[in-house]
Symmetry: C2
Subunit: 197 residues, 2 copies
């Protein structure tokens, strides 16, 4: 399932162009079927440039994960929406099988399953997870501070939300639209009854 340009509209350096090609090839072929040749097919310049910069697909994929983490770290969180709306927006995006990022979320999950065999992947996913959890906890803390959320444990609530969003990515692997819609509606209800005052 090829993706439209998702993160790399303005790729200009060779590294960014190789990473963009890797991103497209990963979404289309998945991890286990991915080869440097298939990445080369998505790359506008000579494939030999890829071999010049990277030893193999795992090194390239680790660089893609690193790049995504850097981008995620640099992102400024939305501040002008109220905390409940921010949480509901994150849930809707993660539970939508038609979201442009769905193919990529699925491919990322496949990479995540390689973590027990690949220390670089494991480290990058742990850092990304910690960042994601901290962002969610920040939103929940803001809700508690402005009085719109109950006095829950922000880290604990963020951990459960994050695990549930990972479960949504796992659900994207099959044709589970009905299950995802039901789970999403229940999660919205959970947020409204359990988090929001």
């Amino acid at each position: 399932m090829p993706e439209t340009d998702l993160f790399f509209d303005d790729a200009d350096s060779t590294r960014e162009q190789i990473i963009e090609a890797t991103f497209h090839a990963l979404c289309e072929h998945g991890y286990s079927n991915l080869t440097l040749e298939k990445i080369g097919e998505e790359f506008e310049k000579s494939t030999s440039l890829i071999y010049h910069h990277y030893d193999g697909k795992d090194e390239l994929l680790a660089d893609l994960l690193e790049y995504l983490l850097e981008t995620f770290e640099a992102e400024i969180p939305i501040r002008n929406e109220d905390p409940a709306t921010q949480i509901h927006t994150v849930i809707d995006a993660s539970f939508d099988p038609n979201e442009p990022a769905a193919g990529f979320d699925r491919a990322l999950l496949e990479l995540r399953t390689q973590s027990s065999h690949n220390d670089a992947f494991c480290d990058l996913f742990e850092r990304t997870d910690a960042l994601m959890r901290e962002r969610l906890a920040q939103i929940i803390r803001a809700g508690i501070e402005n009085g719109s959320f109950k006095e829950v444990d922000p880290n604990q609530a963020a951990a459960l939300l994050h695990v549930t969003l990972l479960g949504a990515h796992a659900s994207l692997c099959t044709n589970a639209g009905d299950m995802m819609a039901a789970a999403r509606d229940e999660l919205h209800r959970f947020v409204d009854e359990h988090l929001v005052r």
Copy 2:
């Protein structure tokens, strides 16, 4: 991470012995590194028997998934525990990184990520998910009927629980013990406040 005997203590037919070998090899090597040779190393009889019965690892893995589904279908659900205890027990088992089944849950998730490239895997995961969801909904319905649970939508609550358990499997891929413990505690709290009367 090799597993102890988990499902196949009494494997006696050749099919069951091959499936048991596949199970152990999958837990140890994961999907992308799995080969029929590695399965053969876990098999007591001649590897040529595996080649005689199966064309490749995907066919064998589909048979493993089919076998697990049959076993799951034949299992009689626990009836002598109250519904809340049953739900809490399922949560504790899924969120425990030291559970003997954790390595297998991780390997199953890797197989799940192959579903978009493999129709047999996709079909088997969809049938297993439907069964799991129905079991969870049955427990929730029993709780509503005996008055211990609130009048929630059993299918919707089961869908969210199931997605969250898939997220727990995804969390098992990295060293996320702290996050899993926090998410597990919050999920228990959710069940006690949101489901149980």
